[in-house]
């Protein structure tokens, strides 16, 4: 059976994706998928090389823990190797994001149950950014590139970016400090991100080619 739905995989593929408790009860293996459809290891390796970093960043956004994020991504690649044979090549990236998302949510829930805490604790304090192993994630060249791009932004956008992301001020604080409406602060932030992400997309496309 080939997955030819809009995202390249049929709902049945994800309908069989079950939480660990269900997997254990049903004895359906580690990913809850009953039939293995292996993908060539060279393709898996290629996908790993291309997407591992971005998927880990995504998983970190959900989990706020680099070790757990790496585990979630690793699990997703295992799933790709075992069950990704029928996924359309163009849809593999979206499929991987979805698998990572589910794995991250599952791991977060398990971690929360283990710690017996509320979901409020998922929102870690801003200082936890400093405790992350940034050196492994953000490469030096990437940082230099980002710094260069930010330098090309208009000064008012640079100021918003710095105050919100580096100084960790809320938008209402920024609006008060700069004596501007909060909507203007948000708008400047959006324009700055638009420029930064546009540059990144351009580079990503040229890199893929």
């Amino acid at each position: 059976m080939s997955c030819t739905q809009n995202l390249g995989f049929c709902n049945a593929c994800f309908a069989t994706w079950k939480v660990p408790e269900q997997r254990e009860q049903e004895g359906t293996g580690s990913f809850g998928m009953t039939t293995e459809r292996p993908l060539e290891s060279s393709i898996v390796a290629d996908c790993h090389q291309k997407w591992q970093l971005i998927l880990e960043r995504y998983a970190w956004a959900v989990l706020r823990d680099w070790a757990l994020a790496a585990d979630a991504v690793q699990n997703a690649f295992v799933a790709l190797a075992r069950f990704g044979g029928d996924v359309e090549p163009d849809a593999r990236k979206a499929w991987m994001f979805r698998v990572v998302h589910r794995e991250a949510i599952r791991m977060r829930n398990a971690e929360m149950r283990r710690q017996n805490v509320t979901s409020q604790l998922v929102q870690e304090s801003p200082t936890s950014y400093h405790a992350n192993p940034l050196g492994e994630i953000a490469k030096t060249e990437e940082i230099e590139e980002l710094r260069r791009k930010i330098a090309t932004l208009p000064s008012e956008q640079q100021k918003i970016i710095r105050m919100r992301i580096v100084e960790e001020k809320t938008f209402s604080e920024i609006a008060n400090l700069l004596a501007i409406p909060i909507g203007t602060a948000l708008s400047r932030m959006r324009l700055a991100l638009e420029r930064l992400q546009a540059n990144r997309h351009d580079e990503g496309n040229s890199h893929d080619q």
Partner: protein, 186 residues
Amino acid sequence: MTNKNNNDKGLEAMLYVLCDESIDRNAFEAKLENDPALAEAVAESVSIVQGLKQAAMSSNASMATKPRFEDRVVRSRQISFLAKGLVAMVSIAAAFCVIFFRWQRDTVIASAESLPEIAAAWIDLNETNTDLMDGSILRFESDSESDTESAGLGAEYKQLAVADDMPDWMLLAVTGTDSQNPEAIK
């Protein structure tokens, strides 16, 4: 329209990553599951946030490693002290060099004082040669009648020959002047 949607997604994703109070995390995560583009925007936002954080940390670290003003003053004093010490050492070395060369020259001059003895030996050697030469002349002119005249002329030639054969360096060494007068040697 699509571009505006993408921009809104970018901002939403950034707010999610920054744990902004304006975003409903549960609702957003529900959207994330079915929107890979939004998930990718979240990943990009994470990279921007982490990059900016690390850039700020590295610039702070570089500021911390920069020497303070007091340190720089102390360091510049140390450098000037070292430079002065170096200049003093070079001056002392130069003075030693001058003293050494003067001493060496004096030694040469002192050793030159023994040159008159060498000059005397040279003269003796030349006299011996001249005597031998005179002997042959005498033998050659033995049957001549003017033996005494020849002997007087031989002595005169001998003195002239000594004066002519004396090398300049020896004259200079012996006399200590530029004079080449053979009488001074005598």
